[in-house]
Symmetry: C2
Subunit: 522 residues, 2 copies
């Protein structure tokens, strides 16, 4: 398997020669109807409002083939060491099913390991939800609080929020969900002031067992439990690596294991996301999330860009970033349930592909990962869309939309339901951005030609959520392959950690650091 | 008063000739100590880690003087029609105090009008909080829910979150606060499922009284109230313009008025933000927010960049945007209380300055407002900071930090408190971004030279929050003056509204719109 920089690939040079098509000219009903690509689990991707035509698609297919994107994905599934810097396999796909050869690492079949943890989650969440296991004063658990940061927070938080309305619609009993992430003491203090500790189960999540933010918040929680006469070991479950110092803390609750082959931002389908989802909404819902993700993973194996949404989404993104030179992308879900999904994607994408050296440690001379941001529509329309429509820079957009709402409760006002209004707005935005509108008053003129794509499904079910999550993971992976970077490490977060430790130790030999620290009386 | 495009100003051409200074070379303890600028109300701005030196500062001062930034601000305060497109005055500063000449519009002194509304807020919030006015079944109000979108949502929401910990620290009785904004029915349905309607007061906020999202959500709420046998007119207060159709809806509760001279994104210090803050935490706290904002407004009148943080922050931002060509900026508050403050700033900045025509309606040939995004630290460190440190693009950063936490409760773990850890991280990040770190392993190499600034204060009090809010409003205003754009309209949101209405009416004459609508069965 050959790895080479994007600008060394012949098809990329062909792509570079292609001017964008004019959306005003090409965006017709027939193009819209013929621009669908399957993403798995009934999630579909539409690229009609992207500035590409037949020639571009041919070049993108060639680029995919020449870069061996599907071969590289297959190699990853088969257990190749794709996280080169850290010398590790990349196995998050295995948490939802087996698509490649068995992967034996650390003397164990990794799929069997993930299945075993899944079974433990099922048993434990059933015990908690049924009231078989209760708090240390005998009360049933009604609230579950995850203590974790980064990937142990953003993905699980986004998924829990996204499932809440669906669980209510299905009348599934739920536990209240909270998260504690920030080392700012105000975060944990505020959460603790709003929950009943006797009825609260905490999940402490840290792969290494040494994440300082998380250990500090654990201490906060343990103190609060003890002050109430509660036993921390009966109120705190642990998700960690088998070799971490954490799993010895509790003798009563079984620890849940994760391993080194799944990065934090890819860990939502491991115990990191699975335990809290299963506790809050039941194991069956988590199982459905996994099924949806697995379907998307399988769809992403298709070598044809016409049948592989993650692949095409990735390739068009590279055209926007490396040919049209657009530095940021907005992700705009028209669903309140996805209100924190963009924050998860921000980590997933920017932490994975915000790199400037290739897999061989050589400096890269073309742009890699863009800035990712977004808020749910229609809220964003009343906020930053002004710049998207009439600002001096073009920001590519990705809309996410659903035919039905989650709760399926609605009112009719002025002849339409809220869900119809929501989607009428989504549809209107696509056209407004693409086509613009001429006006003799320049202030009311819209230049148009602002590209967008759409991820669409009937309803935001757990399967669909899983597929959506996996779609983005796979898109980010394909883009990492194209840029020839390692999307699975995060060396960029290390320097800050080292310097922070130095500050806390007094930073004696670093007058500059000390000068800043003095401001905060550290 | 002369308005001209940025590139016609002599000092800008001088600025353009100046290369950025190397942060690795200049960032010393003495520079850090001498780079403070007052922002008002004890908020201070430090530019030591920005790539500017003496020559730049001289050029920036000249640019400010030549562009007449302070004169323009004074003119705005005196009631000049600065919102040119809409032919209106810009009067949000007047909600916090009088700094210019009396402004008489619509036959009324506007300051007197805002003071009168303020007095109404005081009386009403006292009545609600004391239990003098109760719900229609005689129960005291314990929850207040704001129904509004855009500026009626983001600013008030960010402020309420930011005040919560302080109110707890001061042991001030609070009402629970919720917001309903999205037209997605799941938003209102979820909020309604989690509150006790008998004890809930709603605030309906729409200046025009015609915002479809807000009217639709009002209908949802009214139906839910009636279903419970509650009287909507005793549970819904209204904030709207005097000429809006809304204020006739309620005969029992006095309507609160806003006017056309304050844009949504600048309305947090009007009744739009003031009513909910006063209901939730008491009028005195809102009064303190106003005082802090007023102090920052006054500070922003200082013509010297060495004594006017909003002015210098704006000018350095223009250097980054228009000379160094950096297209986005991250705002990174190291305070969980500011967890949604960046979302407010995203609207404030991007909706104000995401424009590409000047005040005369001529196309502009230089970049204007950047993309703004951000999440609280340390959370962001475990998320998108990877790209900020090692991505191919440089993203300027603005840190916000406080010496003390809000709740003032903490634990010591490994020899330091959480607040110390939080601030040690902030300090470490400034140095890591600026200085980088050489490593023979390119993957662990940090190029450095990534600029940041710091807004710092002792504690996030209500005054400080007001000053922080006003600092950004004034910064955005100064940048709008520099770019010669109108920062106070938002024509870019209109086209989407028109097309959405067309979709809801069947969009008969627009086959493309109809093709998209068909996907959502509209």
């Amino acid at each position: 398997m050959e790895f080479q920089n994007l600008d060394r690939i012949q098809a990329f040079n062909e792509l570079k020669a292609l001017k964008p098509v004019s959306l005003k000219e090409v965006l017709t009903p027939s193009r819209i109807a013929s621009s669908w690509v399957e993403a798995g689990a009934s999630l579909r991707y539409n690229w009609a409002a992207m500035p590409v035509g037949e020639e571009h698609l041919a070049a993108l297919q060639k680029l995919s083939d020449e870069a061996g994107l599907i071969d590289k994905y297959r190699a990853l599934l088969d257990g190749a060491v794709m996280n080169t810097g850290e010398g590790r396999q990349v196995l998050h796909h295995l948490t939802r099913g087996q698509l490649g050869a068995p992967v034996i690492v650390d003397g164990e079949d990794r799929r069997a390991f993930y299945e075993q943890e899944l079974e433990k989650i099922k048993v434990f969440s059933d015990e908690i939800r049924s009231g078989k296991v209760v708090g240390s004063t005998g009360k049933r658990f009604t609230t579950v609080v995850q203590i974790g940061i980064g990937g142990s927070d953003l993905g699980p938080r986004a998924l829990c929020l996204a499932l809440k309305g669906w669980a209510a619609y299905k009348k599934i009993p739920t536990l209240a969900v909270r998260f504690i992430s920030n080392v700012d003491p105000d975060d944990v203090v505020q959460v603790l002031s709003e929950i009943d500790l006797e009825e609260t189960l905490f999940i402490l999540v840290s792969k290494s067992g040494t994440t300082l933010e998380t250990l500090t918040n654990q201490e906060f929680v343990s103190q609060a439990l003890r002050e109430k006469g509660l036993l921390p070991e009966e109120h705190i479950a642990v998700v960690t690596a088998a070799n971490s110092p954490l799993h010895k803390d509790s003798d009563i609750m079984v620890p849940f294991y994760i391993d080194d082959y799944i990065g934090g931002r890819y860990s939502s389908t491991s115990a990191v996301g699975g335990l809290i989802i299963s506790l809050a909404y039941g194991f069956e819902i988590f199982r459905m999330v996994l099924d949806g993700a697995h379907q998307a993973d399988r769809q992403a194996l298709n070598p044809s860009i016409g049948e592989n949404a993650a692949l095409l989404d990735a390739l068009i993104g590279v055209y926007l970033r490396n040919v049209l030179d657009l530095p940021s992308t907005a992700v705009l879900p028209y669903s309140q349930a996805l209100s924190r999904f963009s924050a998860h994607l921000q980590q997933l994408d920017m932490e994975s592909n915000g790199k400037s050296v290739n897999r061989n440690g050589e400096a890269i001379t073309y742009p890699t990962g863009p800035v990712i941001f977004g808020e749910p529509g229609t809220n964003g329309q009343h906020s930053f869309y002004q710049l998207l429509h009439q600002g001096t820079d073009i920001v590519p957009l990705q809309f996410i939309g659903f035919r039905h709402s989650q709760y399926d409760r609605d009112v009719t006002v002025q002849g339409s339901t809220s869900q119809q209004k929501l989607n009428a707005n989504l549809v209107a935005q696509i056209v407004a951005f693409a086509r613009g509108k001429e006006d003799t008053n320049a202030n009311k003129n819209f230049a148009g030609e602002r590209p967008s794509s759409l991820l669409y499904a009937n309803r935001l079910t757990p399967e669909l959520l899983g597929a959506l999550l996996a779609h983005y993971e796979n898109k980010v992976m394909f883009q990492g392959f194209l840029w020839n970077i390692n999307s699975f490490d995060q060396e960029g977060v290390q320097l800050g950690k080292v310097l922070a430790t130095s500050v806390l130790k007094g930073s004696k030999e670093d007058p500059t650091l000390k000068a800043w620290a003095k401001i905060f009386t550290l």
